[in-house]
């Protein structure tokens, strides 16, 4: 009996120890703030290799195809489809850059919106100053963000 208890406790301890490197299974979230592309798996050994694939050029128009499939798109500005996709896919990092008035995500947005490079800095601080007009609430969706960015930049 003592032996059985001992073996059980050793097994339990081993499981507990290896559980240290186990983690939760990621899931997709929405399309507002906090929508990360949860591609990675944090299970033991599965991380690097557990990838999903979109083929190579098979179904790429721009390549930005992930993330927006479940989200409504802002239709009025069709010429800004790339902006729309980029904003949807990078909600958090873009919001952070806009709050800081600078950064790689903000620069890319400026590029996609054809902001001349001479006006990039002004574009950044303008969006920063209008942060609350763009991100009107914590539940703001990406299409509202795109709409609001376009609205505040008309005054630029």
């Amino acid at each position: 009996m003592k032996k059985v208890v001992y073996v059980l406790s050793v097994v339990l301890m081993t499981v507990a120890l290896s559980g240290v490197v186990w983690a939760v299974d990621p899931k997709n979230t929405g399309c507002g703030l906090g929508s990360i592309v949860w591609e990675g798996h944090n299970g033991l050994l599965s991380q690097t290799f557990a990838a999903t694939t979109n083929g190579t050029f098979g179904n790429q128009t721009f390549g930005i195809t992930s993330g927006t499939s479940n989200c409504e798109q802002y239709k009025t500005f069709t010429y800004n489809e790339k902006v729309d996709t980029f904003v949807a896919d990078n909600m958090d990092n873009l919001a952070r850059d806009i709050a800081r008035g600078q950064g790689e995500y903000l620069n890319t947005l400026a590029l996609l919106m054809d902001v001349p490079s001479t006006q990039k800095a002004a574009f950044g601080s303008h969006l920063q100053a209008h942060f609350s007009d763009i991100y009107t609430s914590d539940k703001v969706t990406h299409s509202e963000v795109v709409k609001n960015i376009l609205a505040v930049t008309t005054t630029l």
């Binding site: 939760v24 591609e39 299970g43 190579t56 390549g63 790689e104 609350s132």
Partner: protein, 641 residues
């Protein structure tokens, strides 16, 4: 489109069916790919024959042919990749079938061999001076359109470094990005080769991966999506190595990439892995390189970077810190009190608006809110906060940040030593020493990769990843040559905890070692020891750790030939100078099952790096097993190669 793990049985059947189909197609008229050969086709076949084009190394690159035990074979396992039934092992038949394929009557242009195998078509057209007007599909318009859309400007080799505490990423990973003319790195296309599986149970995944049970596919995603995965969720630093491929080379790379669309190869963790298959794209880009021939049987991602560098393709090194690295850096810019404020805000113990009321200059307020925002994003990526809580708090923090105005500092994290500049992956070691008064000489070899005392420059501090470390000892006193140890796997992850991060440390060791038995003699024993614990930084360069461990011993010198026990180990790791590292360790194990006994050991190990790839090591140890004591001292010379 998400692919599920492919079942094995069905695939084999489909392969067999396809072979039967192809076999029949040769004999059944009307079913044939080449019912009657066009005269021009005959000319081309003849010309190809005279030139012996199937022997050309570039043909072998495009078809991934490699010499194996059974002669030349392609590493590609997908039958769709071959037009000849024997294509996998017959370069000549495949070349002829490819030429015939160019004359195929296939109506759907995107499915026509000219479009499916753009690189083959391009190369053969050049070599055989094919007149496009004589082909049913003169060129692949779809590929031209894609090139036009992408406007590729350059190629960059990407290396997401090892993840501090994840065994999956222990060797890192490599991908390529196709940088577009737009100059935004985020919008680059990341070309990635990986095993496709939904398997999340680690051990099954590991075993299947070792033996090629998963199909590997190439994929393309926006680079920002890969950055989210590696940088924001997994917290791995990323190194970017821009390559000097010219326009023609880039075009060839993309042509071959498009050929690999939806084509699988069996994925093997150690050789045919993410890093190896990527090299085919570079070989295809620059016909004079043969990177895929230069790799050994054990492909470690960082070694492929070194190879690519040696071949003169790399023009620079760019560091892209992970979110965790940014947090550490931001925290280092702030005093402890400000760091605590940022933490309290991120954890919701303090309202973000309160930052504005603090009696601080605006630079510090900016730093605090930036740190709070990054840390909140970190917590969210670790699932430590729910979505709605994250949204509310993140939004509030950013609102505060935007009201502070100013672009402030750019928070450029100073880059550590790039991974390719660290010591090389293989290690050979020679040593002399004394065990229990008897002199020995030792010779050891380890194919991978880094232990706790090896020079950390270019590596993750506190991460030991050792595979197949084998040591032979010769005791001159009794002229005995012994297998001293065979560390099959010896992984230790010492990840210090601090105010911001609370990782667990862990270890797993399994292999053969020589150990004192209950007869006061040393025996070869098989040991498995998993352990888990915590670690803390004492100062900049020192950390301490404590592990709880369990242990299983099998083999000689034990009653009933086995023992099971529990115990603990602890240690201090410190660096006296950049080159001089010290590891002080102690371990006690209590075996209560099988052979009941105790085992104690203490050690003081020191490593002194002479150059990047040589070091001296002095190991002093004392063990007491079954009550028998063994003092040991050894001096070793390590060569990394």
């Amino acid at each position: 489109m998400k692919r599920m793990r492919g079942g094995y049985g069905p695939r084999k059947w489909s392969v067999a069916l396809l072979r039967i189909f192809l076999f029949l197609s040769i004999f059944l008229p009307g079913f044939s790919l080449h019912a009657e050969e066009a005269p021009y086709l005959s000319t081309l076949l003849l010309r190809a024959n005279q030139m012996e084009l199937w022997k050309d190394p570039y043909w072998h690159t495009l078809l991934h042919y490699k010499k194996g035990i059974f002669g030349l074979r392609s590493l590609i396992d997908d039958p769709r990749f071959f037009l000849a039934p024997s294509g996998k092992s017959d370069p000549k038949a495949e070349l002829e079938a490819t030429l015939r394929g160019f004359f195929s009557a296939e109506e759907d242009e995107t499915q026509h061999p000219v479009c499916r195998f753009v690189a083959r078509h391009h190369w053969l057209s050049e070599k055989l001076e094919i007149d496009p007007s004589k082909l049913p599909v003169p060129e692949c318009r779809r590929f031209a359109e894609i090139m036009d859309q992408i406007k590729p400007a350059s190629i960059t080799l990407i290396f997401p470094a090892a993840h501090i505490n994840s065994p999956a990423s222990m060797f890192g990973h490599t991908m390529l990005t196709v940088d577009t003319a737009s100059k935004s790195r985020l919008l680059a296309y990341a070309i990635n080769y990986s095993a496709v599986t939904r398997e999340t149970f680690g051990p099954v995944f590991a075993i299947k991966g070792l033996f090629g049970f998963y199909p590997g596919y190439f994929s393309i995603l926006p680079y920002y999506a890969k950055l989210q995965e590696y940088s924001d969720v997994d917290h791995r630093d990323i190194w970017e190595y821009p390559l000097n491929l010219n326009t023609d080379e880039i075009k060839r790379l993309l042509m071959h990439t498009s050929e690999m669309d939806k084509i699988y190869s069996d994925y093997y963790f150690f050789d045919e892995n993410c890093s190896y298959d990527l090299l085919f794209l570079l070989d295809a880009a620059r016909p004079s390189t043969h990177l895929t021939d230069e790799m050994g049987s054990w492909v470690i991602p960082v070694d492929t970077i070194r190879k690519v560098k040696e071949n003169g393709l790399v023009t620079g090194t760019i560091y892209r810190p992970s979110r965790a690295s940014k947090i550490k850096y931001l925290a280092s810019l702030l005093s402890g009190g400000d760091g605590k404020t940022a933490l309290a805000v991120a954890r919701g113990e303090k309202e973000p608006d309160s930052i504005l009321g603090e009696d601080l200059d605006s630079r510090r307020k900016i730093l605090i809110s930036d740190l709070a925002g990054e840390y909140l994003q970190y917590q969210y990526s670790k699932k430590k906060i729910e979505l709605s809580g994250f949204q509310e708090r993140f939004w509030k923090i950013l609102r505060v940040r935007s009201s502070l105005g100013g672009t402030g500092e750019d928070h450029q994290v100073p880059p550590p030593d790039p991974p390719d500049t660290g010591h090389l992956s293989d290690r050979f070691r020679l040593g002399v020493g004394v065990r229990d008064g008897r002199l020995f000489e030792e010779i050891a070899f380890r194919p991978a990769y880094h232990d706790l005392l090896d020079d950390d420059r270019g590596y993750v501090e506190g991460a030991q990843i050792v595979f197949a470390d084998i040591a032979l000892r010769y005791y001159s006193s009794d002229h005995r040559l012994l297998l001293q140890k065979l560390d099959i796997i010896d992984i230790i992850s010492v990840s210090p905890r601090d105010a911001f991060f609370d990782p667990y440390s862990w270890k797993i060791t399994t292999g053969l070692l020589r150990r004192t038995g209950n007869d006061d003699d040393d025996h070869l024993v098989y040991e498995v020891t998993p352990g888990g614990g915590v670690s803390y930084k004492l100062s900049g360069k020192s950390m301490v750790y404590v592990f709880g461990e369990t242990g299983l011993l099998l083999g000689g010198g034990l009653d009933e030939n086995y023992a099971v026990g529990i115990g603990a180990s602890a240690g201090l790791l410190t660096s006296l100078t950049l080159d001089w590292k010290i590891h002080l360790l102690g371990r006690g194990m209590f075996y209560n099952l099988g052979d009941r006994h105790n085992a104690w050991e203490v050690g003081l190990h020191q490593n002194f790096a002479l150059t990047t790839n040589t070091s001296l090591r002095l190991e002093l140890g004392f063990s007491r097993t079954h009550g028998y004591e063994r003092p040991e001292a050894g001096l070793y010379w390590n060569i990394y190669f």
